[in-house]
Symmetry: C2
Subunit: 406 residues, 2 copies
């Protein structure tokens, strides 16, 4: 290629890299490969008939507006829906506190754009969501890792890292990606307290919170914070940006998610989004609003939970039954992922190509770490493959592991 391009690349392109997950999604599309790699919902739970009806309703009743340009903040009735939906879980906010984004990935990017300068320290769990690493690395984030155990982020480790004076603390309290861990209430309160004392805003990423298969819902950090910070008008004015999405509870193909934050922060994110893409698809926002009306999600999510719980249980059973005995996993109370640790003699990145030869795929755990650890870990998705697929894939993977350990 002509040097006319390469010599003009911005310095930040050196920090860009293709996501391992994205590249693996390509593998997962190859015929015959059973993929536990992506974070894909099952198409079995896509409410296609309801989408067909809703599309026609939206286009007939609101076609002129639904196909037109919209506002950067998002479609007001959808923002109001998100307020009403959040209130069911104790987060009381107004539409001024809500920004509609193109998937949570865009919210992460906008947060990076608004908060992260080259070299800024950002606190993350170790391991943490690969998409956040990718979004913020471009802006020059210097990741400071907080240790985790089977209950997620360890508050003492968070406190110990505060001397780095972080710009942000990034948390996935429910069924963490990739580990599947859930922060107990007490830790949520401790973490919130530590961050507030040190003046560090929290990004609470909660894509899976509604997909719980056992135990009771635990209040979000945002709710805990709002209970302390809000006075009277119920406009949220606290210390947390809360992220969630329609991708896991409805469908991912609309690219619809949302951020909840103090109004002034929403305004700043809106300015960033204006320059990034003007606004999120008007049509998709009308469509999601129409599909979700009459409390549809409250009826639909239990259906998803039932199917995914079965798949989770099956995958855990098959690990117990088929995998070498020195393979361990975290039992996730919800979400989409099993986090698996294999003996230290194995490197899951190297093992992946052998697995793909055997027509099964997963995500190596190393890219979820910002400190080079996790070489003997892997993330396995249990939501996408059918039960038959899970049986076959786990059989294949157990053979790959056994052969590698010989």
């Amino acid at each position: 290629m002509s040097n006319i391009w390469v010599k003009n690349f911005a310095k930040r392109t050196e920090r860009m890299q293709s996501s391992a997950i994205r590249e693996l999604l390509k593998i997962s599309n190859m015929p015959g490969v059973i993929s536990f790699a992506g974070g894909l919902p099952s198409p079995d739970v896509f409410p296609i008939e309801r989408f067909i009806e809703a599309s026609e309703t939206v286009l007939r009743q609101h076609g002129d507006q639904a196909l037109q340009y919209g506002t950067t903040e998002g479609y007001l009735p959808l923002r109001q829906f998100i307020c009403d939906y959040s209130a069911k879980y104790g987060i009381h906010v107004q539409p001024e506190n809500v920004l509609i984004t193109n998937g949570s990935q865009q919210a992460l990017d906008l947060i990076g754009k608004v908060f992260i300068d080259l070299g800024d320290p950002v606190l993350v769990e170790s391991p943490t969501y690969i998409g956040a690493i990718q979004a913020w690395k471009v802006y020059g984030a210097n990741f400071v890792t907080v240790e985790t155990d089977k209950d997620g982020m360890i508050p003492e480790s968070l406190e110990a890292q505060m001397h780095h004076k972080p710009k942000l603390a990034y948390l996935l309290p429910n069924f963490q990606n990739p580990m599947g861990t859930t922060l107990p209430l007490e830790r949520r309160e401790q973490i919130l307290k530590i961050c507030c004392e040190h003046g560090v805003p929290i990004i609470e990423d909660d894509p899976y919170g509604k997909l719980r298969y056992e135990g009771k819902h635990i209040p979000t950090v945002t709710k805990l914070d709002a209970d302390i910070c809000n006075n009277g008008p119920k406009k949220y004015q606290g210390n947390v940006i809360y992220l969630s999405t329609f991708s896991k509870t409805l469908v991912p193909g609309l690219r619809l998610a949302w951020a909840i934050a103090p109004e002034e922060i929403i305004m700043k994110l809106v300015q960033a989004k204006q320059g990034s893409d003007l606004h999120t698809s008007t049509f998709n926002q009308y469509l999601a609003h129409e599909v979700c009306k009459d409390d549809f999600l409250d009826r639909h999510i239990p259906v998803i939970r039932e199917i995914y719980k079965k798949r989770r249980d099956l995958m855990m059973e098959l690990i117990d039954e088929l995998f070498p005995s020195d393979v361990h996993y975290v039992r996730p109370a919800g979400g989409l992922f099993l986090w698996v640790t294999v003996p230290e003699s194995l490197n899951t990145e190297e093992l992946l190509s052998i697995a793909v030869d055997h027509k099964v795929a997963y995500v190596p755990g190393s890219p979820f770490h910002t400190d080079g650890r996790g070489k003997n870990t892997m993330r396995m998705n249990f939501s996408n493959a059918s039960e038959e697929g899970i049986r076959l894939g786990m059989q294949r993977l157990s053979e790959v592991l056994k052969t590698a350990l010989k």
Copy 2:
């Protein structure tokens, strides 16, 4: 608001500002206001019935894939469609040369992310598209302005600015936004030659190229460049990134646009897009592909042209008839906008609030300039309002101008 947030803003937020256009879109939604402000297509040309059919077809035949996650590059059949469609206008490329974006605004943002470091000089026409200014200012672009006349960018002025060693040159050759000017073939060739000699990549932004109301289509700079650079395999390897969109020829509410570039540049833009939002709505890409099949655009665009041409002609007539005689405008051969110059004694930003009081809106010309000029200019959209609306709005605006000039 708690200082916890503001003290953590990135330095680049100082360069963010709400777009005047976006803020004005809010005004244009107020009841009774006739808005010539936005760049909105007319909903009269939205093919709603075809969208209803296409939605049902896509959901019934491809629901499982159309509502699922997709690849960052975009839906392959849609990228192939864009190749076939571009070939009709002499741009011969392969899907590897095409990236689907969330509107052209996202393409501008990704280009900024990949190419622009703080302080980098970027060549723009004076005036130029406000969205490009907004997208690139955030990354720290230092805009270097090239003079224009009734035929658009002046090649001699471009040559004279090359000593700044610009990273990029940004052009809107067809029915420029905001001026409505069109670069003659000879200038396109000269500008391409100058940029290539100086090793400066060109961004050719062409949202309106198909909306021509008089005269003959002029080859894009990308086609001229491909004719020189391409050998054999027809994979484009040249010096231009070409941007276009479905927003003006189909509907804006899907947020679908595309970039054409050498494959290596597409790959870099894909890396940037992965971190920005993973991918563009799968459903909308399937939908656009279904709507556009069987050469629909070739039949639909002439319908749009006929309606917009009438509205352009009407608006020009009304300026001639009603406006003070020392008001001038550029006659646009296509596109969506009339560029109007009022006497220097008037400031169109100040005049806007009076106009809105009189229930008519436009965009002041000043924000389209990166050098503080254009205080007595305004951009007027003729595509969105009905003919009746245009008559009424122009009557109101003529009174505002006459009163101001008294």
